[in-house]
């Protein structure tokens, strides 16, 4: 699998440089939202890698190499997790450097934002990748933007009500169990997503 990840790294290196620059810019001008932005961007990195693979028809060749369908699929999840971890670390480092330069303490509220950004990034990967492997990047992107539009639409219409409902359900005492439950749910969703993506991709290539 290291070979697949290295290939993706070489393919994406230009995008990664641009990504680093964006994080730096947002570190200077942005607030806590920068982490969310960086993580969402990072979660899209495997989709970009898949688009390059499709363009080059790499997967036709990869199926002839000592790579199983499982390895081909899982490598894209690993790429996403690495990208999310790198984005979070870079965003924290950038915020820390900015706080040192400005002689102000780091915003403690940032940690909550980081947690939920990581969860959002992993959910994004879990929803996106099975569709990408089944439908191909072009078609799956359309489906993804339709889903995204629906989520944003619901958020805009009922966002306040949802927020109030969640606040009433989660008291500070329940915070830790809630975080653990959310983490477990995201991990379960991710595991299920990998399983489904492997099944869908196998069906696609072996059809």
């Amino acid at each position: 699998m290291r070979g697949l990840l290295l290939k993706d790294w070489y393919t994406l290196i230009k995008q990664v440089k641009f990504f680093l620059l964006l994080i730096l810019v947002f570190s200077v001008i942005g607030g806590g939202n920068m982490v969310a932005f960086a993580v969402v961007y990072a979660a899209m990195v495997p989709v970009t890698a898949l688009a390059y693979d499709e363009h080059a028809k790499w997967n036709s060749l990869a199926m002839m190499m000592p790579y199983s369908v499982e390895k081909i699929v899982f490598s894209k999840y690993i790429l996403g997790y690495i990208a999310i971890a790198a984005a979070v670390l870079l965003a924290i480092a950038a915020r820390w450097i900015m706080s040192m330069i400005n002689h102000v303490p780091m915003d403690t509220g940032m940690w909550g934002m980081i947690f939920f950004s990581i969860c959002a990034g992993m959910i994004l990967l879990a929803v996106n990748l099975p569709m990408m492997f089944r439908l191909g990047v072009e078609k799956a992107r359309i489906v993804f933007f339709v889903i995204l539009g629906l989520v944003v639409g619901i958020g805009m219409v009922a966002g306040k009500k949802i927020e109030m409902l969640l606040s009433s359900l989660i008291s500070p005492v329940q915070l830790m169990p809630t975080l653990l439950a959310v983490s477990a749910a995201v991990l379960l969703l991710s595991a299920g997503s990998v399983y489904v993506a492997i099944k869908l991709y196998r069906r696609r290539v072996l059809a």
Binding site: G3, K7, Y10, H55, L61, M64, M65, L206, A207
Partner: protein, 283 residues
């Protein structure tokens, strides 16, 4: 021992079927898979590499069922070149070396560098800037640099100029010198197959017309030209396929079954295949 054994394999797509194909590639030999575009050569190669599912039959490659879990390990011993190189555009030969080092357990960096040098390939030029010939030579260098025992080449020489094709065929000649090395070479350039192959399999409209030793084919069959009257008098058993014109008949015949006195044309593999593909069977 056979490097590849394909038994009664079928694959159905909408509008195309590969039907009941049975062939084998004995170890230490070269099998040429010939057929027109769309005859099913690439489908058969995908089936052999388990890169697509089959609807029936069985395939063993280097002694292993290609649908078994062990086949992923067997792929270490198979060098594959497809009709295009299919590497990401930003890769260079040097970066590809690093990728392949972590792909194949038996990756031989020295060997790869030797092939790059032999085939005049640059180290640090982006793949997207390579000519088609350079791309194919790079793919062949990769296929030959992980101590493969079997080469599977799908139209690897198509679209290349004769100089480069000759260069590449020489590389295949060197590869096959080892006793346990085998090559499956698909092409519609019959002259290339005639140069390197021991066996020829001919696919036509998804059906295997024959799989035979090249020398036996050349020995067994011949093209003859004769008048309509002589043709009518000829034993039906002798005739494989005919092309009729208003001036006479050209027929692919079994040499052993034709009467003495007929002059036999110099017959190439291409003639034989063209008759199988385009000739009529009936009188």
């Amino acid at each position: 021992m056979n490097a590849i054994e394909v038994k009664n394999v079928s694959k159905h797509y909408a509008g195309f079927s590969l039907q009941d194909v049975t062939l084998c590639l004995p170890r230490g030999t070269v099998l040429g898979l010939v057929g027109e575009n769309g005859a099913g050569k690439s489908t058969l190669i995908k089936l052999i590499m388990n890169a697509t599912g089959r609807d029936g039959g069985s395939i063993r490659v280097l002694g292993v069922d290609n649908e078994s879990m062990e086949f992923d390990a067997v792929k270490e011993d198979i060098g594959v070149v497809l009709d295009e190189a299919y590497y990401p555009e930003s890769l260079t030969a040097a970066k590809l070396n690093t990728v392949m080092k972590y792909t194949y357990k038996n990756w031989d960096e020295e060997c790869y560098r030797r092939y790059l040098h032999l085939l005049n390939l640059p180290d640090n030029k982006a793949f997207k800037d390579f000519s088609r010939g350079m791309k194919m030579k790079l793919a062949i260098s990769v296929a030959l640099s992980h101590k493969a025992k079997l080469l599977v080449l799908d139209e690897a020489t198509s679209g290349l100029d004769p100089m480069i094709r000759d260069e590449i065929l020489d590389v295949f000649h060197d590869f096959i010198r080892e006793d346990d090395h085998s090559i499956l070479l698909s092409s519609h350039i019959v002259s290339d197959l005639e140069k390197v192959c021991d066996y020829i399999a001919f696919l036509h409209n998804g059906k295997l017309q024959f799989c035979e030793e090249k020398d036996v084919l050349l020995e067994q069959y011949a093209v003859i030209k004769l008048s309509h009257e002589d043709f009518e008098a000829m034993d039906e058993e002798a005739i494989i396929s005919v092309k009729k014109t208003e001036y006479g008949v050209e027929a692919l015949v079994k040499k052993s079954a034709i009467p003495t006195g007929f002059s036999v044309e110099h017959t190439t593999l291409e003639n034989i295949i063209l008759f199988f593909a385009k000739g009529e069977k009936n009188r």
